[in-house]
């Protein structure tokens, strides 16, 4: 009972002055990669510290909940109670493939880790629009796991390994996708990307789904580098070369790849750069791997630069390390640099979101957003990471459209044209007060009270923001490249609070406006041509960036009109290409299916083997 009173402040049992604060973190055990890799190396069972929040059995927290419903066997598996003292004292359940409650714990822990990475990079608490993200660890029988936007859920499959070519698995052994760190991180990232940019669900160019896939892989791979013990071990084993030596750090879903007979991990980050691939690769996972490769290359080069001095010291200036094991202190220092570089790469990628257009994203847009965000945050680029990132994209033939050069100044998004009035100040103040809640731990009582929905007060505020933003957008439509005659959707708005490396507090207000040309919807298979603008303002309301991808009818300059026409053209070509490759349309019994064919061909449930 005494134990319970610690986790339950204000219970009246203890005096406030001696009350213990709730621990900020909750340690939970997971497989660093997956059960197969953990079996091969015992250190690959790790404990990760997750931001502490009160949990009900499930686990069900304030933002996610694990629902263990098995849709094949039509049954439930009992929900784990991570607040049970017997579990708490162990630092979470020990890994056990045969115990569904451990599966629930791992899915929860990895999901929260991904969400925290987004919180941290974006400087705000990401919520799922008042609902909880649902996680079904054993939803179906199949070699797949996917995010379903309609259900607001990630569904994980389980399957039997191949009976031949099963790799280091038992023939026919049951493989759980929910026990793969990479698969969980990948799928949850889809959910977060969808949360931040809902229109990236529309297949309007070949990069959109590839961006979703590539980004999801980036998060999964870079999270590996935060696993301290594993990282140190891999640095020792590979003698610091995390690239040429095969290491699970740079691979994705080892067990899944082996169990499905692929003979290797599902995907691997490599540095091969062939500019033709960007032209040639269309399948979203393949194309997305170009993005992964570019980011990984930038990470690796920066890492090498950052450890150069350590190498010099350790090798007495020769650069050649003595034979045998590396000194543990050296390994520690190197691991520290690798982890910091990886975290910085990941943060840089996630932070780009605030500067992405709301619709029709391309890899080039992502590069510009990444550079803009990073210039804002750290103008100095101390380790040169930004510069090598630009170069890594260039080596793969990925260039932003409509820029004059690859110099930093050309890549940073354009400031607004002409004078834009201040963002509504009421809004700014409201957002600032909302920000005070940032990072605050939810208490047992308010977590329960808020339940799974937005409170009435929040809903009222949110409505008011939307009204304010809508009238702002209408009043300034032409300068925002919006068509005032078409409905303008407020696709998202938020403020973010970040501390720059130089200690400066940066406050941004970001709003996304979107509109669409409904007349193109049927012809383009359900994904109409969309236009939209992301507006980034400072805390005083001054607009700093207008990131516009307008509709033809909304573009107010000649350059933007030409861009818009080009985008429409590109989308039509893309649809035609997809039609050519589509197997189903010919055999559809309802001709009206044509009008949704692009949505049918593109969804996150696509198989994860290519």
């Amino acid at each position: 009972m005494r134990f319970m009173s610690i986790s339950k402040p204000n219970s009246g049992m203890s005096r406030p002055s001696t009350e213990l604060a709730p621990p900020p973190r909750r340690p939970l055990k997971i497989f660093a990669f997956d059960p197969m890799l953990a079996r091969l190396e015992s250190t690959r069972v790790i404990s990760i510290p997750i931001m502490n929040e009160p949990l009900r059995p499930g686990p069900q927290g304030s933002r996610v909940e694990v629902l263990d419903y098995d849709g094949v066997n039509e049954c439930f598996y009992p929900a784990v109670d991570l607040d049970d003292p017997r579990v708490l004292m162990r630092g979470g359940l020990d890994p056990a493939e045969a115990d569904p409650r451990f599966h629930q714990q791992m899915v929860y822990a990895v999901t929260m880790k991904v969400i925290e990475n987004f919180d941290f990079a974006l400087g705000r608490r990401i919520t799922f629009r008042g609902r909880r993200l649902r996680l079904y660890p054993h939803a179906f029988l199949g070699r797949n796991a996917f995010f379903d936007p309609r259900m607001g859920a990630v569904l994980f499959g389980y399957f039997q390994a191949e009976r031949a070519r099963q790799g280091p698995n038992l023939p026919g052994q049951t493989i759980f996708t929910c026990l793969s760190h990479d698969i969980i991180a990948h799928e949850v990232t889809h959910a977060l990307v969808h949360r931040l940019r809902p229109h990236f669900r529309d297949p309007s160019n070949p990069d959109v789904y590839a961006f979703h896939e590539g980004f999801a892989d980036i998060v999964a791979i870079f999270q590996h580098f935060s696993f301290d013990g594993v990282l140190r071990e891999e640095i020792q084993r590979t003698r610091m070369d995390l690239l040429k030596q095969k290491t699970p750090l740079a691979e994705l879903a080892g067990e899944f790849g082996q169990a499905t007979g692929k003979g290797e991990a599902l995907r691997t980050a490599t540095l091969d750069a062939d500019p033709q691939q960007y032209e040639r690769l269309w399948e979203p996972h393949d194309r997305g791997s170009l993005l992964v490769a570019a980011i990984f290359e930038a990470f690796f080069l920066t890492y090498q630069r950052r450890i150069r001095d350590l190498l010099r010291i350790a090798s007495g200036g020769t650069g050649r390390l003595p034979e045998g094991d590396l000194h543990p202190s050296l390994v520690n220092r190197i691991a520290g640099e690798a982890a910091a570089t990886a975290q910085s790469a990941l943060t840089m990628c996630i932070r780009a979101f605030d500067y992405l257009p709301p619709v029709d994203v391309t890899f080039g847009d992502f590069l510009r957003a990444l550079v803009t965000a990073d210039v804002e945050m750290a103008p100095r680029d101390a380790h040169g990471q930004r510069a090598v990132t630009v170069e890594a994209f260039r080596r793969r033939g990925i260039y932003p459209e409509n820029v004059t050069s690859l110099a930093e100044v050309s890549l940073v998004w354009d400031p607004p044209e002409g004078n834009l009035p201040m963002f509504p100040t009421g809004l700014v103040e409201d957002l600032a007060s909302a920000a005070r809640n940032l990072g605050r731990l939810p208490t047992q009582s308010n977590a329960v009270a808020s339940g799974s929905g937005l409170s009435d007060g929040d809903k009222r505020k949110s409505k008011r923001y939307i009204a304010l933003l809508s009238s702002y957008a209408k009043a300034n439509a032409s300068r925002l490249h919006l068509d005032v005659k078409l409905p303008i959707e407020v696709a998202g708005f938020h403020s973010s609070f970040r501390v720059a490396p130089d200690g400066q507090l940066l406050i941004d207000i970001v709003a996304q406006f979107a509109q669409c040309d409904e007349s193109t919807k049927d012809e383009l298979g359900g994904a109409p041509v969309r236009g939209g603008t992301t507006v980034v303002a400072s805390s005083d309301g001054a607009v700093r960036y207008v990131i516009a991808k307008p509709l033809k009818s909304g573009a107010s300059t000649r350059v933007k009109r030409a861009e818009a026409a080009g985008r429409t053209e590109r989308q039509m070509e893309f649809v035609e290409r997809c039609d050519q490759m589509d197997a189903q349309q010919a055999w559809c019994s309802d001709p009206a299916d044509r009008n949704t064919r692009m949505l049918r061909m593109h969804n996150f449930a696509g198989l994860h083997s290519s």
């Binding site: 059995p57 499930g58 039509e74 197997a583 055999w587």
Partner: protein
Amino acid sequence: MAETKSITVRMYNVGFGDSFLVMIPGANRTHRVLVDCGAHSLGPGPVSMKEMVHQIISDVKDADGKSRIDVVVCTHRHRDHVSGFQNALWNRVEVGEVWMPWTEHPTDGLARRIREAQSQRAQSLNLALARLGADDGMMAIAENSLTNARAMQMLHKGFLNVRRRRFLPVEKKSGRSFSTPLLPNVEIHVLGPSRDENVIRDMEPTKGESYLQFLLSRTVSTSGRVRPFREDWIMKPGLYRRSFGHMELTKAQQSSVENVGSGTDFDLVTKLEKAVNGTSLMLMFVCGRAHLLFSGDAQWGTWSAALADPEWSEMLSKTTFYKVGHHASHNATPRAFVEKHLSKKFSAMVSTRFVKKWPEIPRGPLLSALRARSNRVVRSDESDVPDAGGFKRKPLYVETTLAV
């Protein structure tokens, strides 16, 4: 005589299928090429396939009363292209050569792998669908990819006095084009199926084993299904709700989870159909000015490789006769080919018929696009527009002549 200087192409009205007889004038006799002979189970023609085969065999009789075909082409092993070859009567027909795609090669390792993958998939899919009680439209598509063993046996081992069986294209670079003494003055160009890895990838059924497992799992009782955990972990929904009342899972949400993978059967069936279409032979017969393009049911992989090849791209622009791919479905005739290559006056034949289950075939806009360029486009099943001059329509076929 002027008549002997032209090629005749006859399209039999087999229903939803293909069968073409090409008659090429020679010095002493007319040389004959038969391209495919089959119909879909769901789209029969006006007469039975047996009657149709009788008709074809009597149409190829020489003056001595013997039936002779110089070359029999099997574009791919789909039922709607080969079912007519099941008939034992073909064993009395003298055939000079039989041409098949390289994927039919009896000993080539890669060919065998592709064939086996396709036929295994077809078998397991048909089994799963039959057990699930799939509708006949879906069953018909799935059956179309079954091995059609008797017909293939005829093509591989049957006919009378076959001199040679070719599996095209042969691996050598020079194998792209060839000629044969059986068809004097004719050059044959093999535009597909290529051995390019991207095209080959289109031929292998997409990974879907676990979905098959999934489909089959639906057909066995709950007790026979794969259980991920020991029996005692299982909680009935009622007990779960009582124990964990804070979890809100509505019946509708529950059935969304149960229905994961629905529609997969259709996906697998159509992808397999496409994979087999990917093995289609795509041939251009060149005889003087006449350029006859038989693309089988080739789809994007083969087409894009052909369009990307400068030599072939130029040749495609000379097409004077086009056998419209895959019964005029939307993805067997690239728009670029119609718009950029079919500029000259050409004839086109569409072997198709309306099947209620598949209203998208033939695809209206494709027919319109072809007809916008030439008035010499005919369908096998009906003269929906008056046939242009030079076409001869009989109850069982329509034919045209092409200048050499």
